[in-house]
Symmetry: C2
Subunit: 191 residues, 2 copies
Amino acid sequence: MKHLLVKFFSQYKSLSEEDIKIIEDNAIIRKYQKGAILLKEGQYAKESYLVLKGCIRSYYIIDGEEKNTDFFLEYDPLVPISYIKNQPSKYFIECLEDCVLSIGKTERTEKLLLSYPNFIPLYRKISDDYSTNQLISTDKYRNLSPEEHYLEIRKLKPELLERIPQYQLASYLGIKPQSLSRIRKRLIHQK
Amino acid sequence: MKHLLVKFFSQYKSLSEEDIKIIEDNAIIRKYQKGAILLKEGQYAKESYLVLKGCIRSYYIIDGEEKNTDFFLEYDPLVPISYIKNQPSKYFIECLEDCVLSIGKTERTEKLLLSYPNFIPLYRKISDDYSTNQLISTDKYRNLSPEEHYLEIRKLKPELLERIPQYQLASYLGIKPQSLSRIRKRLIHQK
DNA sequence: GGAATTCATTCACCTAGGTTAACTTCGGTG
DNA sequence: CACCGAAGTTAACCTAGGTGAATGAATTCC
């Protein structure tokens, strides 16, 4: 599974044989089953993730209802806010499919960059890129109706619609599954 | 008007005659007329404010519509995000009444604290207190319906309802003035 | 003092999404 | 094969807020 991580890095830079060896030797790869919980509300996150295979959701519980805040697919980096801020998490993180994840820990990464300083610009590129791909991106969509938000997703991440059950998407959009059904029907019949 | 600033400080600590003189000698107090714009979208904020008298709103414009994000009354500190992050502002800041404001600038404050280090714990107290009173507090109320949000405000800041026009409050709640009228009517008749 | 704004209220009508419940489809399991 | 449970769809009815227009009240302006 390490080749998937190499593939991820090679999106950013062409890698030498040696680079590849370093990446493979230092990778921590873990597999999780569908339904596995990576982080619970109240816990401190101990690591961050890169999705190599599978699909993950983050959600919180309000008034007894789960509300999805984000989904992560292949090559999405998932850095829990709890990990950055070293605070108890407000969110749950759960695998929606069987997953293969690369594990990231700050101290480890820093040590690695000391040993292999030529990876530093690569890491900078990746983390710059990541800043556009935030956990909890609600802000951008605050002003959209659920229908508009749905259309945005269909435009920007059409694959997501094929991958996750509709009731999970409905929860993300802030509506009931029945309403998402209705929206989809509306869109079919009016176009 | 400087006595209002002294009054503000004395909420946090009992002040000696000398303290009072220092505060008064170093205060920057400015008056603004109703309707004055303190900061426009795109500008860099050059200072922060403490409301000594009057009422201020911050808002942004989306699809040609103004949306209020916050109101500030007497003794509310107003630190533009643009000032903290040194970024162009996403918000407008406008006086809803004639205002008397105390002006704060970081370098100036820091110089002052060097000369008068006994003010340092006082400043710490004030800025700790401020962190609970953030600009853009939308997050807390994201899950409330406009009606619930209105009830929250009536409970927590009832004075605000007397001070600002209802269409300004409606904009804050994310609804039209007619709908706020309707909500108020509903609340009167059902209780 | 009268006219013109501005703001709040009310009404009729519309639309989106919630609620409840019935029905279907499908995949898994005995 | 029959049954079950989960997920999606549909429908009837409800509610909140939007829209546009009319009315009233209060302020400001000449």
